[in-house]
């Protein structure tokens, strides 16, 4: 009985299969005249949009699908629907419609096997894709092959890469940022502040400034959008002029502190502009100097944490090929000067979307070369001992056979943002968030009767060791700067110094309206930080961050003291030899700050005081602290400060500012202070 039922079902399936024949849109096949007229109208509308290129596929698809409802068995319509889906919202549906087109009429279009190759490729069925690419290659005339052979060979190579890459999945969660951010139109180039509080991105949605389409690809012009973190969601805003214009304005990079935005404009073949946030207003975008912007295409820019290194993309001559990664350095006068091609990262294909992590040594970029599995894949390279490491493909599912671009990693390294047109997109490219999961070993339990006479088995205890969780070698220092008296936010200058080299590393500003500041401190340095503002005593901080330090965030609000009698500050970056009053060379920058303060305020007289912890006798500590205070005063006199403006005092262990019970407290107590005694 079962066999009979099976036979009947098979017969029915076969009959239905054969009944699906290519059905033209004509009166012989669609008897309802009204429906026929409607369908042909929709197809005509769709064809018009289809001919305009990929930018209008999403619109063409709407018309084609209407017609397809009336007659789902037209090979040509299925072919076009397949292509529209493939390059817009759903690659799987694209493949299904192309397969149906083939089933209805294998000769429906000369390009069918090419698009089937693309469809299988984009759906990660690499062997089938290679079959179709090869089939299409065989059909090409020598003349056609000369034009298209290289492209097909590249696709085949990508499929071979894909077969390898897909074997080992990278453990991540990938989430669409949702309809607060994404639309059915292209939404891409996310750039994010180091603390993940501010997100900028580019969109080509109808609401962009001017609402016009670029005639080149028939998509809306790009505009920059901004989102701020609100709980677990994003609050969207659409900046107006001067950030956005009625032409292309794309966010391409954000300084780690979120105060400088790099944007792309289509002028001059495509140039990079810089825009600075003042309070809550963005300044007018100004183009980067000509050493960076040329008549060629420049796009994508990422500023290193030192504020002196800018990575960008350009297709200028003398590169490796197509768009390449370049780096520009600021000279000692603060001007962008030297520019060089990072040849070890570039390929004859295009590189795009460069991003330097706030750790200053890990570079992410997209490339169509290297071992991409299709389109742009995201790669990582690390700078060590003067060299960039071999680019490493971030693997599947971060990378897919389609374009995966504009990867930016959070400072903590736990999350990343990028744009992709993968499954799960609302439409076209969307912005996704990656959450990295460390692949942790799972532990089995077994036991054996190892000792024959014993009934109690011996348990095999072998617990896999923990996987080392690599975190960026970075300390993120952030907070707000206020006036100590009024508690109002201040726009102050934050000067970052390498104490060992006595070298100024970077200068940042806190936000004028909020006082917010953020500084990235890559591991492996003794940092001096001086917060300065005219009319205030400078504030100094010292951070010694070992090379192997893990990622950490430090929240520190700073209160600047107005210059007036009685105010005192701790000079945290003055260092002495152990148990001596010899000033160490690392103190030079702090002493220069002090000299500048004295020169800028010629009417003040100060006291330098030395303090110790409670280790050792009181007499010894008093003597040491006095000698150290004197050493500072002597230094100031040697450097031109009048002796009459300076006095010194050793307080020993008398005036602790923290508990002497802990090493941290004792460290705070060992200090040099200065105090304003007179100010005329």
């Amino acid at each position: 009985m079962k066999k009979i039922i099976f036979l009947i079902i098979m017969t029915l399936i076969t009959t239905i299969g054969y009944s699906q024949v290519d059905t033209p849109f004509d009166k012989n096949h669609i008897t309802d005249k009204k429906q026929l007229k409607e369908a042909n109208k929709k197809i005509k509308e769709g064809d018009k949009l289809f001919a305009m290129g990929k930018g209008r596929y999403i619109d063409a698809l709407t018309f084609y699908l209407e017609a397809n409802k009336i007659n789902p068995n037209n090979a040509d319509l299925n072919y076009k629907i397949g292509i529209c889906y493939l390059f817009t919202t759903d690659k799987q549906l694209g493949l299904e419609h192309l397969e149906k087109a083939k089933q209805l009429n294998p000769q429906v279009n000369y390009e069918l096997s090419y698009y089937l190759g693309r469809a299988y490729h984009l759906n990660h069925q690499f062997d089938k894709a290679i079959e179709y690419y090869n089939e299409f290659k065989r059909r090409l005339s020598p003349k056609e092959f000369a034009v298209r052979g290289k492209e097909l060979d590249k696709y085949i190579e990508e499929c071979e890469n894909g077969k390898e890459l897909i074997k080992k999945k990278t453990k991540v969660f990938i989430d669409n940022l949702g309809s607060n951010i994404n639309t059915i139109y292209p939404d891409y180039t996310p750039v994010i502040s180091a603390d993940e509080e501010i997100l900028f991105f580019t969109s080509r949605r109808p609401s962009t400034t001017g609402g016009k389409r670029d005639p080149v690809d028939n998509r809306y012009y790009e505009d920059i959008f901004m989102a701020t973190k609100s709980g677990s969601d994003w609050k969207l805003s659409h900046p107006e002029k001067p950030l956005n214009s009625k032409f292309h304005d794309a966010s391409i990079g954000l300084s780690p502190d979120g105060q400088t935005l790099y944007i792309y404009k289509g002028d001059n073949g495509g140039d990079i502009y810089e825009c600075v946030l003042k309070g809550d207003k963005w300044g007018k975008p100004s183009p980067l100097p000509k050493v960076i912007n040329t008549k060629y295409h420049e796009s994508s820019a990422s500023l290193g944490p030192d504020g002196r290194t800018l990575y960008f993309i350009s297709d200028r001559p003398d590169g490796v090929g197509g768009r390449d990664i370049w780096v520009a350095y600021k000279n000692s006068k603060g001007k962008w000067s030297e520019v060089k091609n990072i040849r070890e990262l570039n390929t004859p294909y295009d590189e795009e979307a460069v991003f330097i992590h706030p750790d200053g040594r890990t570079l992410y970029f997209s490339s169509q070369g290297h071992n991409s599995m299709g389109g742009y894949d995201i790669f990582k390279s690390t700078y060590k001992d003067g060299y960039w490491s071999k680019p490493e493909n971030l693997g599947f599912p971060i990378n897919t056979a389609d374009d995966d671009l504009y990867f930016v990693l959070s400072s903590s390294g736990q999350r990343a943002y990028f744009s992709s047109s993968r499954k799960g997109t609302i439409g076209d490219q969307d912005i996704f968030m990656i959450t990295f999961i460390i692949d942790k070993p799972m532990n089995t339990s077994t036991e054996d009767n190892l000792i024959a006479y014993k009934t109690k088995p011996v348990q095999e205890i072998k617990i896999e060791s923990a996987i080392t969780i690599e975190t960026p070698s970075l300390t993120l220092l952030r907070g707000f700067i206020y006036d100590e008296d009024t508690k109002k936010p201040l726009e102050a200058q934050i000067v970052l110094t390498d104490n060992e080299k006595n070298e100024e590393l970077a200068v940042f500003s806190s936000n004028a309206q909020t006082g917010r500041y953020l500084v990235s401190l890559p591991s492996g340095k003794n940092y001096g930080i001086a917060v300065k503002k005219e009319g205030y005593l400078f504030h100094s901080e010292n951070f010694v961050i070992p090379e192997n330090a893990q990622y950490q965030e430090i929240q520190k609000d700073i209160y600047l003291k107005p210059i007036k009698i009685g105010q005192s500050i701790v000079l945290r970056n003055i260092f002495f030899d152990f148990d001596k009053a010899t000033i160490r060379p690392e103190s030079k920058t702090e002493l220069e700050n002090l000299i500048k303060l004295m020169n800028d305020n010629p009417n003040i007289k100060i006291e330098i005081s030395g303090h110790t912890d409670n280790i050792g006798s009181a007499a010894y500590n008093q003597k040491l602290s006095e000698s150290r205070a004197k050493a500072v005063v002597d230094y100031l006199i040697e450097h031109g400060i009048e002796r009459s403006r300076l006095s010194y005092m050793g307080y020993g262990l008398e005036k602790p500012i923290a508990s002497n019970d802990t090493e941290e407290g004792r460290q705070l107590n060992r200090r040099v202070e200065f105090k304003i005694l007179e100010s005329n």
Partner: protein, 349 residues
């Protein structure tokens, strides 16, 4: 599994009976009542009537307080009833009247069963000093060394035991286990094979052989050996679970799940198979189902550290970070350092 327990119990009984002193020849014309009571006790003990045997030995001792054999056999009988302290007192008395190797060895064994391992070791040492041809004394002293992790000492003793009794299957098995612990897998395989050669029905040796191959990542051989153990004893849950782990490590997830499920069917309280099945399901990304298995494993043993660690990893994949952190913390509290690292790095944000 049941078969193993029965076998082991039988072993203890057999050793007791074998070591029970033989009957005493009654001389003609001498009533020798004490000896007669003693002989009746031996027969009863051999027939498994332990309680009545003890009465007979007591009668014999009352009649003849220096009859060492009666103390000895009463001690053996009492040890079979789990009355270790009384048994040791009897053995002390027997040794008072007759210091021989067998008595020392037997007292050592009773002390070992009681958990007095130092006392047992001392007795075995004396027994071996008196009589170097007592294989059991070497065998059990080796087991003490094994428990202390002194595998080379254990190997020396087991080799001695085998030299006195060359078909000593247990000793071959334990020798294999010593080499397994020393990760000398070639020697482990050699001695486990000797063990099944001496006793082809020694199921635990097949299982141990399987484990040796598994540790060598020779999964096909491991599965064959575990299967032999299971063929001899279809209820041998340990071997079924181990075969599942071999399949899991080989990458045969379906086969592994089948074995773990079979082990659970045989013993619904076998927490290890729940844990291991959870891992198999985790591998195929069936996290919800994996979670249920880890829950069950923990329900059966709420101090099961590894299961907490595995459940934490699973909860992370289910995006339940607070649950994951709670489990990493629990696993860390139970002594798993990797869990402590994960908790520190992923939870204190």
């Amino acid at each position: 599994m049941k078969k193993i327990i029965i076998l082991s119990l039988m072993t203890i009984v057999l050793i007791g009976v074998v070591n029970a002193q033989d009957t005493i020849k009654i001389r003609t014309g001498d009533p020798q009542i004490a000896e007669q009571r003693y002989n009746e006790g031996v027969k009863l003990l051999q027939n498994g009537d332990v309680q009545n045997a003890i009465s007979k030995f007591t009668d014999a001792i009352q009649l003849k307080p220096d009859l060492a054999k009666a103390y000895y056999n009463r001690g053996v009988a009492k040890s079979e009833l789990g009355l270790f302290d009384e048994a040791i007192t009897d053995l002390d008395q027997a040794l008072k009247y007759e210091a021989n190797a067998l008595y020392y060895y037997t007292r050592g064994k009773i002390k070992q069963d009681k958990g007095d391992l130092d006392g047992a070791l001392q007795d075995y040492n004396v027994a071996i000093n008196i009589n170097k041809d007592l294989p059991e004394a070497y065998y059990y002293r080796a087991s003490l060394y094994f428990d202390k992790g002194e595998y080379t000492n254990a190997i020396d003793d087991l080799k001695q035991a085998i030299s006195k009794k060359n078909s000593y299957a247990y000793a071959y098995n334990d020798l294999g286990s010593c080499y397994l612990m020393l990760e000398d897998y070639d020697n482990a395989i050699y001695y486990y094979k000797q063990a099944v050669g001496a006793d082809p029905k020694l199921t635990l040796a097949y299982n141990n052989l399987g484990t040796t191959y598994r540790r060598m990542k020779k999964y096909d051989e491991a599965i064959i050996e575990y299967s032999k153990a299971i063929d001899f004893d279809p209820d041998y849950v340990i071997a079924i679970n181990n075969r599942g782990v071999a399949k899991l490590e080989k990458g045969d997830i379906d086969g592994a799940i089948k074995d773990f499920s079979e082990a659970i069917r045989k013993d619904a309280n076998y927490q290890y198979s729940y844990n291991n099945r959870g891992i198999a399901k985790y591998r195929i990304e069936d996290y919800q189902s994996a979670l249920e298995d880890f829950n069950k494993a923990i329900e059966l043993d709420n101090n099961y550290a590894i299961a907490y660690l595995n459940r934490a990893n699973t909860k992370e994949m289910l995006r339940d970070m607070s649950g994951a952190c709670e489990d990493w913390k629990k696993a860390a509290d139970l002594g798993i350092s990797s869990a402590e690292i994960y908790h520190k790095q992923l939870c204190n944000k």
